[in-house]
């Protein structure tokens, strides 16, 4: 059922967190109004809807805000019929949640650290950290894909695919900007193959931007930081 719901998503084109929510809504075939936020000039609506964190994404459903990308994705999954995003089995759900939390708690701060690093040493340190973390994901993927499935979620994309896949274009940007290869077919063959499949996925194609946009945004952030 994808009736006329009043759905508004406050997001940012280059935010992996916002992209996750767009993918989730896409999987469910639900239409929504998308509002691009200017993070240098946050809207009153954003500040009112997410007073605690003041961040995107925020999903406003019938006037009520839901914040935090993983919370929103689960909300969308539970509210709307259509292909399931989280698996049905409680143990598989726990596993998907574990790796999603790992991506957000360990992997994302590491690769963002490469971007934010102010010295070569710091950059190298963060790159090493990121590569170590991605290796752990590669090992986990080996266990999951052992049964020949295309995605973490099975034949179609699921929770962990959306969570990790939403970061891929930033990995491409980092390759271009910093020469760091986070995923490559040599060191992380399973993830490289999965990434190819993810990029070809229709839901991803709709909302994942190119690396160019990420590079542009990173330059914008750097300029703003330098101006301070």
């Amino acid at each position: 059922m994808a009736g006329k719901e009043d759905l508004k998503l406050l997001g940012l084109v280059v935010s992996p967190f916002a992209i996750r929510v767009r993918m989730a809504l896409g999987i469910k075939g639900v239409s929504y109004e998308y509002v691009e936020e200017d993070m240098f000039n946050k809207s009153d609506l954003l500040l009112a809807s997410n007073p605690v964190h003041k961040k995107v994404p925020v999903l406003i459903h019938n006037g009520k805000p839901v914040c935090e990308s993983l919370v929103i994705v689960q909300y969308v999954d539970e509210l709307f019929a259509g292909p399931p995003i989280l698996p049905a089995d409680p143990y598989e759900r726990a596993t998907a949640r574990f790796w999603a939390a790992f991506v957000d708690d360990k992997l994302t701060p590491a690769w963002i650290g490469i971007l934010k690093a102010e010295t070569e040493d710091e950059r190298a340190e963060k790159a090493t950290e990121t590569l170590a973390v991605i290796r752990q994901v590669e090992e986990a993927l080996a266990n999951t894909l052992a049964d020949g499935r295309a995605f973490f979620g099975g034949d179609s994309i699921g929770y962990l695919d959306v969570v990790l896949g939403s970061c891929l274009f930033w990995f491409d940007a980092l390759r271009r900007m910093r020469g760091v290869e986070i995923i490559d077919s040599g060191r992380t063959p399973l993830l490289a193959a999965w990434a190819e499949r993810f990029r070809e996925n229709a839901e991803a194609k709709g909302v994942v931007p190119g690396a160019d946009e990420a590079v542009q945004y990173a330059n914008k952030l750097a300029a703003a930081a330098a101006a301070k």
């Binding site: 605690v52 459903h61 009520k64 839901v66 914040c67 935090e68 993983l70 919370v71 929103i72 689960q74 909300y75 539970e78 509210l79 409680p90 143990y91 759900r93 726990a94 949640r97 574990f98 939390a101 790992f102 752990q136 986990a140």
Partner: protein, 223 residues
């Protein structure tokens, strides 16, 4: 093979608020389990095998299969035993989202800030104190006049925060403030939680927590 025991086992540390979340959830559901106290200075084979990624407690083993990360464990307990009342997450998706948001907020903010509050001195400690007051006031406002974060019923967000009430005394002494004075609604909520058998039987006493932090400080060479 060792570790594939039937039923529930919890690898934990007595004072851990994260482990206590799991114990509270298990008690609320009336689920029997084997409690296995871990020595984090000399980690067991079972712990390292069950949580190779983080090597941390708590870990819940269900028929030998490990579930890691306290809030994930609590959700697993809720979902794997749907026949055991009470439901820790409400039925309504929006209420569920709110519960998850606040549990996530506690995870992101409280323990880390608390650690800085007792570890650091001078300017840095003052900053931590300021942040702690902000966090507690935010939680106080979110609770409002409700009985629990879940509304009428004790639920997921309450389980996430309840163990930290035993740490309030430690935060108060290091930050020189009173939760009762700064956040009366939160203080009242803490009392209500403490009246629940699951919480009362699980939490360490505030003085024991303070003593534990004192031992940690000595170990880190902090006065």
């Amino acid at each position: 093979m060792a570790g594939e025991k039937k039923g529930l086992q919890l690898l934990d540390l007595w004072v851990s608020p994260f482990g206590q979340r799991c114990r509270i959830a298990l008690a609320e559901k009336g689920l029997p389990y084997e409690y296995l106290e871990q020595d984090l200075g000399n980690k067991s084979e079972l712990l390292l095998r069950s949580n190779p990624v983080h090597k941390k407690i708590p870990v819940l083993l269900h028929d030998g299969r490990p579930v890691c990360e306290s809030l994930i464990i609590v959700q697993y307990i809720d979902e794997a035993f749907p026949g055991n009342a009470p439901a820790l997450l409400p039925a309504d998706p929006y209420a569920r989202a709110q519960a998850r948001f606040w549990a996530d907020y506690v995870d992101k903010k409280l323990y880390d800030c608390g650690t800085r509050l007792w570890k650091l001195k001078g300017e840095a400690q003052q900053q931590a104190r300021k942040e702690m007051l902000d966090i507690l006031r935010t939680l106080d406002a979110a609770l409002g006049d409700a009985k629990f974060f879940g509304g009428e019923a004790f639920g997921f967000a309450d389980v996430a925060l309840a163990p930290f009430t035993a740490w309030f005394l430690t935060y108060e002494r290091h930050g020189e403030f009173s939760v009762e004075k700064e956040c009366p609604r939160l203080a009242a909520w803490a009392k209500r939680c403490g009246e629940r058998e699951s919480v009362a039987k699980t939490l360490s006493s505030p003085e024991k927590v303070y003593e534990f932090v004192g031992v940690l400080k000595k170990r880190f060479g902090i006065e």
